[in-house]
Every structure is written in C-alpha cells, then in structure tokens.
C-alpha cells in the first residue's frame, strides 16, 4: 500500500504550477545554502575556539567567575636525634584587606587597629589604601596568633580576609639556631639546614578554587575545587638538644667571662661521625652582648689551626716510620727557616726532646724537625687525607674549604710553618674531623648532621652511613692516643682533665691574619685563635669535642688553647657522658698514676 501512496504523492507534485514550484526550490536551495554556510562558519569558529584558542578562552572565562587561593603546604618539622622538636610550623593567621569591598573605612580600620594593635604608621598606610581603592589585596598583618585570627574572622568585616598561613617556631629558643638556620616570612629556607633541605622540607603547595560573584564574594551553595597540599618531609638530625644547649651555655659563659669575640663548640661521635652539637656564639659589635649566632661559624669560617695541626705531622712521622714516639731530636727554641726566624712559644735552652715530648710540650721547632724527616710532599698528602683543603661531606650552605695551598705552591718559611698549623686555614669542622681520625683508630669518618627523614607515609628513611677512609694504621693511632693523653696529663692541656675519665687531646693557639697581611695590627697587637680538640674515654674513644675561642684577650693568660678552650671541654664532659650514658672505665685515670 505505501509504495502506491508514495507514488501518488510524488505524482501529485508536478500538478502544481512549474514556475511557482521552481521558485520555491530556488528559495529553499538559497536558504539551505545560507544555513549551511552559516553552519560551517559557526562550526569553524566553534572548532577554532575549542582547539587553538580554547584554553585561553576557557581560562579567561574561568577567571571571571572563579578565584583560586594557594594552600601553603605544611613545612616539615626538624627533630633532634631523640625526637624532640627543634623547628616546627604551627597554625597562624594572616589578615589582609580588599579595599574595593570595604564599606566603612573608619570602622574597619578602628576594629583592626584595636585587635591587632596597629601603630599609627600602619593605620595611616591602611587608611590610604582603603581610600584609594586601587588594589584588590593589601596585607594587614601576617602570621598572627590563630585564635586572634578566628576572632577577627568571626566579626565578618566586609573586605577583610583571614587566611591560614603557618609560621615557623623554634620551641627551644635559640638552641641549635646556628645549625637549623632560618626561613623568611614566606616559609622559604634562607640559612642553615632550613636552606640546605628546603626542597625536602617545603612540600608542594595546593589550591582552593571557588566560584565568585562580581565583586569577589563567594557564591553560596557552590562547591570548592580543592587540590590538596602535600606536606614536606621531616628531618631527623644527629644533634642532641641537651648537649647542644650545654655547649651553647658553656660558650656563652666562657666568651663573656674572658672578653673574647666568639666561640665554637662541636661534639662528634668518634665512630659514626654524627654531630651531637655544633654551636657558635659571637659578641654583638653594637650591644657587646654575646649571643648564639644564626650563622654556623663552625663550618663557614676558617682559621689557622695552630698547634692542633701538629697531631697530623707527628702522626705522619709515626705512620711513615721515619720517627717513633721515643725518637730524640735536639731542639733549640728558635731556628732560621727560609727568610724567617721561627721559634717555640717560650725560650728554652737547646734540649734533646723525644717526639712524645715535642707533642706534649707543643714545640714548633721540634715539629718542623719531624716534618723534615717526613718530607713536605708526603706531609702534604697526609694533611689532605686528614680532610684539610676541601669542604666536608656536610655540604653545609656556605661551607668553607679553608685555605690550603698545593705543596709546590708553598714558599719560604710556609713550607715549615704548615707543620704546626700556620700558613693554612681550616674550618672547625675540618679540624675536629681530622683529629677524630686518631680517636677512631686511624679511620677518617665524614661528619654527619642528618640521621634520616620522615616520609609522607610516616616511615623513617635513614641516611647513608658516613663515608670513611683509612688515614693511619690502628697502631699509629693508638700511639697517638697515648701521646695525646700525656698532653692532657702533663702537657699544655692539663685544664682539660676530668675526674673519672681519661682524656686525650691537643691544644692550639693560632695567630689570626690581620688586614695588613701580617700577624700584628698597626699597634703591634696580635689576635689569637685558641682551641682544644680532645676525645674521651682515652682508652676507647667514643666522643670527640672541639672548643675554639676566637680572639681571647691578648696579653693575658687566657689567650692560649690550654687556658681559654680546654676548661670548657672539662666542663662539658660530665654532661655529655651523662646524656649519652658513657660509663667511666673501671681503671683509675691515667693522670693520677
């Protein structure tokens, strides 16, 4: 049936007037063509917008009705070795205004001024911004107490924003500040470990995108698009907060009492190289007050190590076999080397001294005689093996390599003075690491400040053990330990003695180079750098400690390493032993024998 009907319909069309039908067709064709052209134009435009220029247009559109706020990631915590917090980020609030949205400038300003205790200048600045209304965002106060922020938010002041912005806190005050460093107000590490591990501590910021009406107000009922922030990882240091505090207090007291310029204290585990403390204090030039520094002078500054370097020369002599501890040299109190007349610290007749005596009495001339036996090139190799001349594995920001010339660049008396620590410079961390190689039975172990990290999943990721290399044999190290025990018992470091423990160590009294290039200033006054590096228990060393006092008063008894620095060591040992549970040996102290 239907084909017939179709046939009937089709056959019916030609019955109409041909001219009229032709016109309709053309009109329809024209309309269809027009519609097609328009469709193609629109489609082309749509395709163009969706592809080539799509992203930009979408972004522009989104900008008109959405506002994205950055969610600052929580900065990782810095713990000490016992899990005590050294640096934490705590919730805080930041107050800002959008002057364009403020209805009542005077009332808003009065309220903010009252609650935030704004001074007159701050009030004037804010008032000007409120009146000008040319900015959409102006900070009022950053990182204020979170509770106060909540109180301000509860007021629902038009044009006043309260955002969460964590602030960095050192719960222990300045304890460990030299090592931890600091962050700026944006939470970015600018010094110390905060800078060194900034990428690990800072995490990844997130964002919240909310739909807003014209004028910036949030549209009620719309959902926020949240891209969560990823908190930073946490650091676990090798530092022991109690030992760090004790070091700092001892330095503050010593530098203050002696009228010195600055001081440094490092406490190191002899086996692992882990640092229990790394403290720096300095006298403020303006106030004359001695303060814990924000700079880590133990790693950043370098000085002539003075007589502490003699342990390297003597160890080199013993290790190469050119001398033994009882090898005798005839030692005058002064002698000509190169263009200079070099001398011991005090006048004495020519005397026969064993190598042991040379170390115990810290004879410069005697040490030169040992170095001559070793020969400069080999001595230089030993100094490098002990870690001088290159930054340590700490890789601390701004860490110094010291000043250490190639052996063939040394000239004149420098070739000899390096044997007793003049003509080169080392950082305190280099120096303690070098002496610790003797305490560690001849094995150099790189210093270490970070034990591990706490990952996002809460698991502890330990750092790799410190790199080690053998510098001298165990036998040589044991002989050196014995000789250094004598230094404390009967030599220059008797003030480092501690009841119950045998202590070994070496004093150093270096001269500081003056701006004129010499060792004396325009008034003929010398500046000293007094230090003591010791370890205990001497029978089986566990802990190595360096104390240095910068510029102790010249012309007084306190200018020497044995008088300025060694007493600080003696004061620290009981506390360190107590904190770390180090038991004194059952045998009587060697010095009492």
């Amino acid at each position: 049936m239907s084909p017939q009907r179709k046939l009937r319909v089709i056959s019916a069309k030609p019955t109409a007037g041909r001219f009229k039908i032709g016109n309709q067709r053309r009109r329809i064709q024209i309309v269809v063509a027009f519609v097609l052209v328009m469709l193609i134009v629109v489609t082309t435009k749509v395709i163009g917008l969706q592809t080539a220029g799509g992203d930009a247009m979408r972004a522009e559109a989104a900008n008109q009705w959405t506002r994205t706020t950055t969610v600052v990631a929580d900065r990782g915590t810095i713990f000490d070795r016992n899990g005590e917090e050294l640096a934490v980020s705590i919730p805080a609030a930041t107050i800002s205004i959008n002057p364009k949205l403020i209805d009542n400038e005077e009332a808003t300003l009065n309220m903010l001024a009252t609650m935030l205790s704004l001074d007159v200048e701050e009030q004037q600045r804010l008032y000007d911004e409120m009146i000008l209304k040319d900015k959409g965002f102006v900070y009022v106060r950053r990182q204020i107490d979170a509770d106060l922020g909540e109180q301000i938010a509860a007021l629902k002041l038009s044009g006043v924003n309260v955002d969460s912005e964590p602030t960095r806190l050192l719960p222990g005050g300045d304890t460990g500040r030299s090592v931890i460093g600091r962050t700026d107000i944006d939470g970015v590490g600018t010094a110390g470990l905060e800078l060194q591990y900034d990428s690990i501590l800072s995490g990844e910021n997130g964002s919240v995108t909310r739909q807003v009406a014209p004028g910036g107000r949030s549209i009620a009922g719309t959902e926020d698009a949240v891209d969560g922030a990823v908190p930073g990882d946490d650091l676990i240091l090798t530092i022991d907060r109690s030992i760090q505090f004790t070091c700092e207090q001892a330095l503050l007291e010593r530098v203050s009492n002696t009228g010195s310029k600055a001081g440094t204290c490092i406490v190191m585990d002899a086996d692992s190289g882990e640092l229990y403390a790394m403290a720096s204090v300095k006298r403020d030039a303006d106030t004359n007050e001695v303060l814990i520094t924000s700079g880590n002078h133990a790693a950043v500054d370098s000085y002539e190590p003075g007589s502490v370097a003699k342990v390297i020369t003597i160890a080199a002599g013993l290790e190469t076999g050119v001398v033994g501890p009882n090898t005798v040299f005839n030692v005058p109190w002064r002698a000509q080397y190169g263009d200079d007349l070099l001398r011991d610290s005090h006048e004495h007749p020519d005397e026969d001294m064993t190598v042991r005596q040379i170390l115990v009495e810290s004879s410069n001339i005697g040490t030169i005689k040992v170095q001559e036996k070793v020969q400069l090139r080999r001595h230089w190799d030993f100094m490098r093996a002990f870690g001088l001349g290159e930054p340590t594995a700490l890789d601390f920001p701004g860490e110094s390599a010291g000043i250490f010339k190639e052996w063939n660049e040394l000239f004149g008396s420098e070739k000899y003075t390096v044997s007793y620590g003049q003509g080169l410079a080392s950082t305190p961390i280099q120096l303690i690491s070098a002496v610790n190689a003797i305490a560690n039975d001849g094995l150099y172990v790189a210093p270490k400040l970070v034990r591990g990290f706490v990952g996002e999943d809460g698991e502890i990721i330990p750092t790799a053990p410190s790199a080690t290399h053998e510098v001298i044999s165990t036998n040589t190290a044991e002989v050196m330990q014995s000789m250094m025990t004598d230094v404390v018992c009967s030599g220059t470091a008797t003030r480092a003695q501690v009841s119950s423990f045998n202590v070994a160590g070496k004093t150093g009294t270096g001269l500081k180079a003056q701006p004129n290039g010499g060792y004396e200033d325009e008034f003929g006054v010398r500046s000293y750098y007094a230090s003591f590096v010791g370890f205990f228990p001497a029978e089986d060393p566990e802990i190595t400690v360096l104390i240095s006092i910068d510029e102790p008063p010249a012309g007084t008894i306190n200018r020497f390493g044995g008088t300025a620095a060694a007493p600080v060591f003696a004061r620290l040992v009981p506390t360190i032993a107590h904190e770390l549970g180090i038991q004194p040996p059952s045998t009587a102290p060697a010095c009492s024998e």
Partner: protein
C-alpha cells in the same frame, strides 16, 4: 439447515476501515506515554533522592575533613607548646628560679648490682617488673598522626 454466509464487502475500502483499531492504538500510546512518564518521574525522583543523599554525605565528609584539619592544627599547636615546655632553655630558667645552680663538678659512683636490683624492684623502675608501657616520644606520636593522615 441454515448456513451462515459472509456478506461480501461493499463500498470503498476507506469506508470499511475499522475505527476500533485507531482507538486501540491511541490507548496503547497513552499507556506507553503514561508509563514512560511515570518511569521518568520515578527516575528523576530517585536521582533527586540520590543527589540529595550524595550532597548530604558530602557535607558530612566536608565536615569531617574540616574536623581533621582542625585537629591536626590543634595537634601541631600542642606539640609546639610541649616542645617549648620540654626545652632545655626553659628547664634551665625554671630550675634557676627554684634556686638550683649548675653543678661545678660531677663524680661517678659505683653501686653494688644487688643493691641496684633491689632498688629497681622496689621502685618499679624496671619495665619488666612493673609492666610499664613504653613511653611514646614526640617523634613516634608525630609519625603515628602522619601515618593516619596518609591513609586517605
């Protein structure tokens, strides 16, 4: 015997079109439309209920997220306060306020192991004796919270 005979069709085919069939078709369409409309209405109603439920649950989840964030903030604040209280600098200051002074010297004493054992047993300072649970330090507590936060 009479036999029923079918009357031959008369008139045009159009006049013989059964009108009942049209009525039949309209009823079916109406039913289909009503049924479909009912289905759509029920579907939309169900969707509305589900959407409401989802929105309601989402609100609860958002509230819980806010609570977690607030508790995390509170945890951070409290552990900072605890760290300040445990800081050596505060303990030192407080000790001095109480009239204490740093020891000028210290000495180690030897204790008879039997006396030590008796003292530990009587004062319950040994965990095995007193069954004292291990103390959870600040780092361990922090790690536990971090592990829980990571279990999204």
């Amino acid at each position: 015997m009479a036999i029923a005979l079918r009357k031959p069709a008369s008139g045009s085919p159009a006049s013989r079109r059964p009108t009942l069939q049209v009525v039949e078709a309209r009823r079916r369409t109406t039913r289909v439309v009503v049924f479909t409309a009912t289905l759509v209405a029920i579907g939309l109603g169900t969707l509305a209920v589900i959407h409401t439920q989802i929105a309601s649950r989402q609100a609860v989840i958002d509230q819980l997220d806010r609570s977690i964030a607030e508790e995390n903030d509170r945890f951070d604040t409290l552990r900072a306060v605890r760290a300040e209280l445990r800081a050596p600098v505060r303990l030192d200051q407080r000790a001095r306020e109480l009239g204490m002074a740093p020891a000028l010297d210290s000495s180690f004493l030897s204790v008879d192991p039997l006396v030590l054992a008796m003292a530990m047993a009587s004062t319950s300072t040994d965990n095995d004796v007193a069954d004292v649970p291990d103390y959870l330090g600040p780092l361990d507590q922090f790690r536990m919270v971090k592990i829980m936060n990571g279990m999204d």
